[in-house]
């Protein structure tokens, strides 16, 4: 069967991160990962912190993302997220630093610290690290 493509847009408040014709995407839904191909029924759902996997004709791209929403329409899928980083461009050192800082915030119990925000930051940092490292050491199959 011939591959069908659909238009994907990943947009953050700062800029359009990615825009292309793609074959298949896998998204971090609130209740777990799910996939979308061309011709999917129209729907809207929230996204959690996680990884966006984009399958092109003969390439695969990964993005680290945090919370947002996706709208699937017959020919276009629009992903609106707070942040999305191309896995190949993640700064590992910065991610490690962010993770440690978030960890300190969570454990030190300084009055006035927003624990939920610290937790969120920690999850985002861990997510970025996981995705960046996966790309550096390709999965052995």
């Amino acid at each position: 069967m011939e591959d069908k493509f659909f238009k994907l847009e990943i947009v953050t408040p700062l800029k359009i991160i990615y825009q292309d014709q793609v074959k298949h995407i896998r998204l971090p839904g609130v209740d777990g990962y799910f996939g979308i191909m061309a011709g999917h029924a129209p729907f809207v759902t929230s996204l959690a912190i996680g990884e966006i996997k984009v399958d092109l004709a003969n390439d695969t791209k990964y993005f680290a993302t945090s919370r947002g929403i996706v709208e699937v329409l017959p020919h276009t899928t629009t992903i609106l997220v707070e942040t999305a980083e191309d896995a190949s461009q993640i700064d590992i050192e910065r991610a490690i630093y962010a993770k440690e800082r978030a960890h300190r915030r969570m454990t030190e119990h300084v009055p006035g610290t927003d624990i939920d925000r610290a937790k969120d930051a920690w999850f985002r940092a861990v997510n970025r690290l996981k995705i960046a490292r996966k790309l550096k050491e390709p999965e052995s199959k």
């Binding site: 847009e9 947009v11 953050t12 408040p13 700062l14 800029k15 359009i16 839904g29 609130v30 209740d31 029924a41 129209p42 729907f43 809207v44 759902t45 929230s46 929403i69 709208e71 329409l73 017959p74 020919h75 629009t78 609106l80």
Partner: protein, 287 residues
């Protein structure tokens, strides 16, 4: 008849004004570049989020969420965005004229609430017996997202408490450095938009469910839309100021050239007169 010294003084006066307009133009140009970049980057997200909200609004019952609910518009609110400063051509006048036209539709001035952003609009409308529920001045100097959130929060609270039934935005949309367009836009309730290929829309699915999604999306959408409007207006203001000051500088150039010409003419006349006097004097001696 103007003396040479008068004209000299006027020339130097115009030159000083020109220095100021030129400096203002340069400052506006630098700020414009930054403002233009921010609005162009902010637009895609805001437009797409707005579109998704419109799609959702066209698919769900409107009483499902307060921010979608169409109530009888007893109390209408206008958010009017102007600049803090003048010297930007017809930027402020255009907004105020449009707002005046909009507001004159209503019989009862007291049924309208105004939120005024920018000193120029505040000064104009507070004098005209409207009910002002929010004013924000000296606002654009250091524009922050949190400022947009403050305004959005005020709007949503009043809307949820049913103190406002319909909210409009009036602002300048940024087209290019030399062009702005005054836009009147309904912010709340959200206007339903049916997507282009609506045949597929019969079973638009929400996960987990429409209310959860609307709860997170509605406030975010209002925040983002207010933010976008502030950025649009700021970029427009800088564009308008740059163009206006450019014209002013050119105008000063023309004025200086004209004055210089006049100066030269009068000087020439003076010299001619003196020569004539000397010649006629020496002629008289010859006899």
């Amino acid at each position: 008849m103007a003396t040479l010294r008068d004209i000299k003084q006027r020339i130097s006066g115009v030159q000083k004004t020109q220095q100021i307009t030129r400096a203002l133009k340069m400052v506006a140009a630098v700020k414009l570049r930054r403002a233009q970049q921010s609005i162009i980057q902010a637009r895609p997200y805001a437009h797409r989020l707005g579109a998704i909200m419109g799609h959702i609004a066209s698919k769900v019952e409107h009483n499902l969420h307060p921010l979608l609910e169409e109530r009888e518009p007893k109390r209408v609110c206008y958010v009017i965005v102007t600049a803090d400063q003048g010297l930007c051509g017809s930027f402020n006048q255009n907004i105020i004229r449009k707002a005046d036209a909009e507001l004159s539709q209503y019989q009862d001035k007291q049924a309208i609430d105004l939120i005024l952003i920018g000193r120029k609009g505040r000064d104009y409308f507070t004098k005209r017996n409207y009910k002002v529920i929010g004013e924000y001045i000296a606002f654009f100097k250091n524009l922050q997202f949190s400022q947009a959130v403050d305004i959005a929060q005020l709007i949503m609270d009043l809307y949820n408490e049913e103190k406002l039934d319909r909210i409009f935005l009036i602002y300048n949309e940024f087209k290019s450095a030399a062009q702005q367009q005054v836009v009147v836009e309904q912010l709340l309730p959200i206007i339903p938009v049916i997507p282009e290929d609506e045949t597929f829309m019969a079973d638009y699915i929400f996960e987990p469910d429409a209310i959860t999604i609307l709860d997170t999306l509605c406030p975010k959408n209002i925040n983002i839309q207010v933010w976008r409007v502030l950025l649009e207006s700021f970029a427009s203001e800088m564009g308008a100021r740059m163009t206006a000051m450019e014209y002013a500088t050119e105008n000063a150039n023309k004025l200086i050239a004209d004055l210089q010409m006049l100066y030269n003419k009068i000087r020439q006349e003076g010299i001619t007169k003196e020569i004539l006097e000397i010649i006629s004097g020496s002629e008289a001696l010859k006899v």
